[in-house]
């Protein structure tokens, strides 16, 4: 009799994918906001209870506070169109994802990101805190609905410091809104650009994007928040310059780069490399570099494989100001995805 009870109590967890329908998810939006679009398809099949929507890609629960476009750029090395996600309405993975109670949670996360950005740029977030309720709501709705016109109109009221474009600063020598200067409202513009960096470290080698290993855990991704300070005197501050400030540890191999004229053996040996475990390794690497006369990076340090911003892989020589003004998200943060190959860690 007991066996029968076991049989009747047995159950198989099922996951049902949404087959034919495709929905367009705005890059600058957030996944939980799609709930209203998706629920009609599932409402009749869900058992009673509270719905907390969440998504996974290849088994990895997706962090809902990361803009949809960033998730796609980060997790889909070879862009997949359509992007195949699994939607869940039960079994929220509380150990992996922070709680989300629908639109309010997403709005709270957005407004706080905006405040954080304002704080980084202005040293305080008074302008966001002093927004009228109706302005705040209008701003949020413009993000939710992807209404750029409304967003620009409302956000311009915030008078958040924007980065001067290389063009404008070179053309008008009388430009007053410089970095570090005080504007009429008495707020100091620090010339600091808020950046959120997502660094995915891989230890395997690969040639094609499709050979890239899949991200199976958030442990493999570093979530770094570092602002980039642009100095007014720096007329030609490029994306490359910005990245060297953001992740200097991945640019140490620049010192070891061999130009076509060859490397000075003595100099190369003197430059410290944090990942080199013995002098012999340095020697070998330098010898190899010396033999390859074109520029190359010594494999003992980390190597940047991919940089993606808003689905673009920008040339590193692009002026950073252009990148910021054109590619930042509605929260005034520039979200950058970087894939780095790190050397295999030797087990001791």
């Amino acid at each position: 009799m007991e066996a029968q009870k076991y049989v009747w109590d047995g159950a198989i967890p099922l996951q049902i994918h949404l087959h034919e329908s495709q929905i367009l998810a705005p890059r600058i939006g957030y996944l939980p906001l799609l709930a209203s679009l998706l629920k009609p398809y599932f409402s009749s099949t869900l058992p009673p209870g509270v719905d907390t929507i969440w998504f996974d890609y290849n088994g990895l629960p997706l962090k809902w506070y990361i803009p949809t476009g960033v998730l796609f750029d980060l997790l889909c090395a070879e862009p997949e169109r359509p992007w195949n996600l699994t939607v869940h309405f039960r079994g929220y993975p509380g150990t992996v994802l922070i709680p989300c109670e629908g639109e309010d949670s997403v709005k709270w996360s957005y407004i706080n990101s905006l405040k954080e950005a304002a704080y980084i740029m202005n040293g305080n977030c008074k302008n966001v805190m002093n927004m009228s309720q109706s302005d705040q709501l209008e701003l949020w709705h413009s993000v939710m609905n992807g209404n750029l016109e409304t967003y620009q109109r409302v956000s311009s009221k915030l008078k958040l410091a924007t980065v001067e474009d290389e063009h404008t600063s070179l053309c008008s020598s009388k430009s007053q809104q410089g970095f570090g200067e005080t504007d009429l409202a008495g707020q100091v513009k620090t010339g600091r650009v808020p950046v959120r960096l997502y660094v995915w470290s891989v230890s395997e080698d690969f040639d094609d994007l499709e050979d890239m290993p899949k991200v199976d855990s958030w442990e493999k991704i570093s979530y770094i928040n570092r602002p980039v300070e642009i100095h007014k005197e720096d007329k030609c501050f490029t994306l490359h310059d910005a990245l060297k400030i953001l992740v200097p540890e991945f640019f140490s191999n620049d010192l070891m780069n061999v130009k076509s004229a060859g490397v000075d053996f003595e100099d190369a040996l003197r430059i410290p490399s944090e990942d080199v475990s013995s002098d012999k390794v340095v020697e070998d690497h330098v010898q190899n570099a010396y033999e390859h006369r074109e520029a190359c990076s010594i494999s003992s340090s980390a190597e940047i494989k991919l940089i993606r911003i808003q689905g673009i892989e920008p040339k590193l020589e692009i002026p950073f100001s252009w990148v910021v003004n054109n590619l930042m998200n509605p929260d005034y943060f520039l979200h950058i995805c970087v894939c780095v190959k790190v050397p295999q860690q030797n087990s001791t």
Partner: protein, 94 residues
């Protein structure tokens, strides 16, 4: 494993400050690993105060995402060698 920078092994001093009617902690200053997430500070507060609903802010200004690293918050918003974290039982700064 994500590449570690030297700053990640550093400890950060966090100063926990009560706001509004929130109970004041006997010990308000703590050291936490820079490589830890802000979620650790939030969880610590929840356990110490026996409250699930807490609003936690930095510099009385904004609520950081729980996944943000303490070292980043300290580098960006810390002063006088510490990170000031305010906590309230109801929304203090909307």
């Amino acid at each position: 494993m994500a590449a570690e920078s030297p700053s990640s092994v550093r400890k950060v001093v966090v100063h926990l400050r009560a706001t509004g009617d929130a109970p004041i902690l006997k010990q308000a200053k703590f050291k936490i690993l820079g490589s830890d997430k802000f979620a650790k500070v939030i969880d610590f507060l929840r356990r110490q105060l026996h409250r699930d609903t807490l609003f936690v802010y930095v510099n009385s200004a904004f609520s950081p995402n729980p996944d943000e690293l303490v070292i980043d918050l300290y580098n960006n918003f810390g002063f006088d060698g510490k990170l000031v974290v305010n906590y309230a039982c109801s929304m203090a700064w909307g």
